[in-house]
């Protein structure tokens, strides 16, 4: 990849994040990021978005009441076969 366009950054973003780009593409992409503030901003916000989703790993939607209600209901309905 001799020259890289902004659309190539978008195309390659997942492989870049997953560290699956070959050395040449990685080098060209990082060089492009140094010169292109829009793409730099795109990559930064993309990483920020992934960090936000990572923060939700421990998020629980179920309240104690719902959990209790569900478990009580299941107890009445489930018997080993």
């Amino acid at each position: 990849m001799s020259e890289l366009k902004c659309t190539d950054v978008v195309e390659n973003i997942m492989n870049y994040i997953d560290q699956e780009l070959d050395q040449t593409t990685l080098f060209t992409l990082e060089k492009h990021l140094e010169m292109c503030p829009e793409c730099k901003s795109f990559v930064d916000t993309y990483k920020r978005m992934l960090s936000l989703s990572g923060n939700l790993k421990n998020q629980i939607f179920v309240t104690t009441d719902i959990r209790k209600r569900l478990k009580n209901l299941l107890k009445t309905k489930i018997k080993p076969h």
Partner: protein, 218 residues
């Protein structure tokens, strides 16, 4: 000696919380072969929060979610003997759950002419809506509030996406499944998973553009 060891192990398992230390496959065997209800209870304890979150992410409605979670675990108790360990139990359970939630959502949409009420407004000003509980270890109120605010922004943006996109973001970026595990859950190719995640993330980033604009200015 072996029989004695087996007996002792079996007694130990039945005493106290020793089920916690058993892996999923062992619990499944105990439930199927010995009809041990405590083993199934442990599987429910282990997965109910994650399955509830997954289904709520798909349906965005707590009433439908409660119904579908109940159905999933009842089905699980009836079909557990069909689990063949060709994939991990969690992947298998996620596949059953995803299909059940999507089917339930489609059925409800048909029944209600495509209108399903959303219970996912995370605004702090609206107390009537469903709120989630985040396990946050931070004791500093300012850190907690900032984090909560960004989580709310993220959840609101994610909930604007179509369910197929919400689902892959949830599986990959929140629950942390690999591409091949997601392919197994959704029964599509790994390449199709990657492509769907790519499009979902671009759309999510777009939904978050105002938030990122403010963020870059601070």
């Amino acid at each position: 000696m072996n029989i004695f060891k087996k007996l002792l192990q079996s007694v130990l398992i039945r005493c106290g919380n020793l089920y916690n230390f058993q892996n999923d496959e062992k619990l499944i065997n105990l439930y199927i072969q010995e009809k041990d209800e405590c083993a199934f209870d442990e599987l429910v304890n282990r997965y109910i929060d994650r399955i509830y979150s997954l289904c709520f992410r798909i349906t965005k409605n707590k009433e439908i979610t409660e119904d579908v979670v109940q159905e999933i675990f009842i089905t699980l108790s009836q079909k557990l003997h069909t689990f063949r360990a060709e994939s991990t139990f969690s992947t298998w359970l996620y596949r059953i759950s995803t299909n059940a939630a999507l089917m339930k959502l489609r059925k409800e949409k048909r029944h209600n002419n495509e209108v399903i009420s959303d219970d996912v407004n995370y605004s702090e000003n609206n107390n009537n809506n469903f709120t989630y509980i985040a396990k946050d270890s931070s004791k500093r109120p300012d850190v907690f509030l900032l984090r909560k605010e960004s989580e709310n922004e993220f959840n609101n943006a994610l909930n604007k996406l179509p369910e197929t996109y919400r689902l892959v973001i949830h599986l990959k970026d929140i629950d942390g499944f690999s591409y091949s595990q997601i392919a197994n859950i959704l029964e599509i190719t790994t390449q199709a998973v990657k492509s769907r995640i790519h499009r979902a993330r671009l759309e999510l980033r777009n939904e978050l553009s105002d938030y990122f604009h403010e963020w870059s200015e601070n």
